[in-house]
Symmetry: C2
Subunit: 371 residues, 2 copies
């Protein structure tokens, strides 16, 4: 598969939906990716099965607070620098790049970096969605070391991290991201082709493109199309009545209140945020939580409203899509379940929650939710 001007538009739409509101908005990322493929030609996407056993794959991503990326634009040469640094550090030649996460702008910037570094992308990612912290990656679950990790900023200031586990890496790299203005770029949890086959979420790039195609080509309304094709659930339709958002410790943190409208009139739903949408609460009950993919859609356009762009008065439809399978194991939930974010409750799939709740929340759930 090739990522060119056409497929990139679909890819951006799909990645936005999978991003759970995070990964950075796709606006700047799509423009940068379109420019890169116009200048340098389409970027090839290769299946993980086609990477040689010893072929080095660089998972690449922006790290920091997504709101910063709206103003602090990257440097396309970062792809070249990341490649040089990883090759120097490992003594190996890079075979391909891979989006660290398939959500939002973090799905698109790897296209830019790969184009400039002269590398293909592999059709996989490390999350199957977006998550805010570095240890929240499938390679960590699989026991792949977090380091060596390389980090670069748009000025070309580079750092190498060695002999750290993923949690210490998160602390150190996050601190540098904050010190460097809120956003940096990394290649971490590097894998060989053999390792990637059992430690990554396979097929993510083509899945995002396909989602984008389906949604774009939908003849019915797009929200229904997203729910139908991704087995998702609408949680509430309403108006944003409050946004509490701050940029702190290298994250966007906060919460948003959605006042129900029409058939949801009278409901008040709260979404809590750390870069991504983490949990949905209503009257003290959990309606949905990580690792399910909680996404705010603009009710009119069906476009994803990224967490850094939520604002008072927006008409939105809140949806939840099932978590990628990899995160639904006990070990997966230890790393990315609600307790990993400090909540004192366990994960329950959104479908089960809605099926078990005969009251208001399920009113806006689609028929296939089990009722």
């Amino acid at each position: 598969m090739l990522l060119d001007a056409t497929t990139l538009h679909h890819y951006a739409r799909g990645a936005a939906i999978l991003g759970a509101g995070g990964g950075g908005s796709t606006g700047v990322g799509l423009l940068a990716a379109l420019q890169a493929v116009e200048e340098l030609g389409p970027v090839e996407v290769v299946p993980v099965t086609e990477v040689p056993d010893d072929g080095l794959i660089m998972p690449v991503a922006g790290l920091g607070s997504p709101d910063v990326t709206l103003e602090k634009i990257g440097n396309p040469r970062m792809g070249v620098w990341l490649r040089e640094m990883i090759e120097r550090e490992t003594g190996l030649r890079a075979h391909a790049m891979m989006p660290g996460e398939i959500g939002g702008g973090n799905a698109l910037m790897p296209v830019v970096w790969a184009a400039h570094a002269g590398l293909p992308l592999v059709d996989a990612d490390g999350m199957g969605r977006a998550f805010p912290e570095m240890q929240m990656i499938s390679m960590h679950l699989a026991g792949i070391p977090a380091t060596p990790t390389v980090l670069i900023d748009e000025r070309g200031q580079g750092m190498v991290f060695r002999d750290m586990d993923a949690h210490w890496l998160e602390r150190a790299a996050r601190a540098v991201a904050v010190a460097f203005g809120g956003f940096v770029t990394t290649a971490d949890h590097v894998v060989t082709g053999a390792q990637a086959r059992t430690s990554t979420v396979l097929g993510s790039v083509s899945r995002a493109v396909r989602i984008g195609e389906i949604v774009s080509g939908s003849r019915s309304d797009r929200v229904s199309s997203i729910l139908e094709h991704l087995d998702g659930h609408a949680l509430v339709t309403g108006k944003i009545s409050d946004v509490d958002r701050r940029t702190t410790d290298g994250f966007v943190r906060g919460s948003v209140l959605i006042d129900g409208v029409r058939e949801d009139k009278g409901r008040l739903v709260r979404v809590e945020i750390q870069n991504e949408n983490l949990v949905v609460l209503e009257e003290g009950r959990m309606l949905a939580s990580v690792p399910d993919i909680i996404t705010v859609l603009d009710t009119q356009t069906s476009d994803v409203v990224f967490t850094e762009l939520l604002r008072y008065g927006q008409r939105v439809t809140l949806v939840a899509l099932p978590a990628p399978d990899i995160w639904c194991t006990p070990r997966g939930l230890e790393v990315v379940g609600p307790r990993a974010f400090g909540y004192d409750f366990d994960y329950e799939p959104v479908g089960s929650i809605l099926a078990g709740l005969p009251g208001a929340p399920a009113r806006s759930a689609p028929a296939e939710a089990g009722r």
Copy 2:
């Protein structure tokens, strides 16, 4: 010269005096250095003139908040790790280590690291005293690049910084120090023997040893001995009546109030601190400032009271010693003068200030202050 059990005691005393209250207390550092030379033999101190032109010198130092070092004890293997990392990064063999600063514990830990790394120390440092920030080093004045810099913690977690100037390095490394518990160890501004001859403060190690010998052997009281031999000035003798100290942003910051006693009764002097003692203020007038070496001495024992150990009720004598020459140029003062620390006044040597002030402050100044 050899640093052994005898010379180390003198070295510690001298380095404490030159530290301006900072560099970390010499208590733990001296114990660690004594243990290292007992296990591994004395550490050789070689003049910079004896280092080959292309011999690589590693300036090494702890970075962070000195109060943390009272509890977060280092790992002697850090010396080995620092050497390995610098050699891997530069592709050169290390010839010697050098204390990044000749103040407090940061003068002693390089003895430990050099002993374990099997390297001598060069008889020089980068400050001629202690300063809190990474760009406040003579090599920076001389135009030596700040990077490559390597950083290690006591667990062996390592980082390499590339292509950063000294100010960006300070931001990044300080952030990591905080993330790693408040203290890490670095080798930065590495120099060759040829570079060291024109970019370091020469003779610092032997100077600290000599100061310690003189003070230890003094038959008169030690405070007078320090003032006499270092051309210093007593600023006030009193009792600490308030300490405002916090550990923040990887520094000890705060201030201390000294209430005059005996001939200084009625005076109230304030010392402001960022790891080191920065400025002395009395009734809104500056009595002394960086880069002069402002040191609080215990009035009874004449021992240095490090900034992290200042406490209410201590009987102290506040002294100021002339700044190392290198810092008294316009460019030097740009980097370490009062304005570099956010003060809105210019540096004036303590001797000139006292000579021009016929009032209270000069009362406790020694005769040679010009009166």
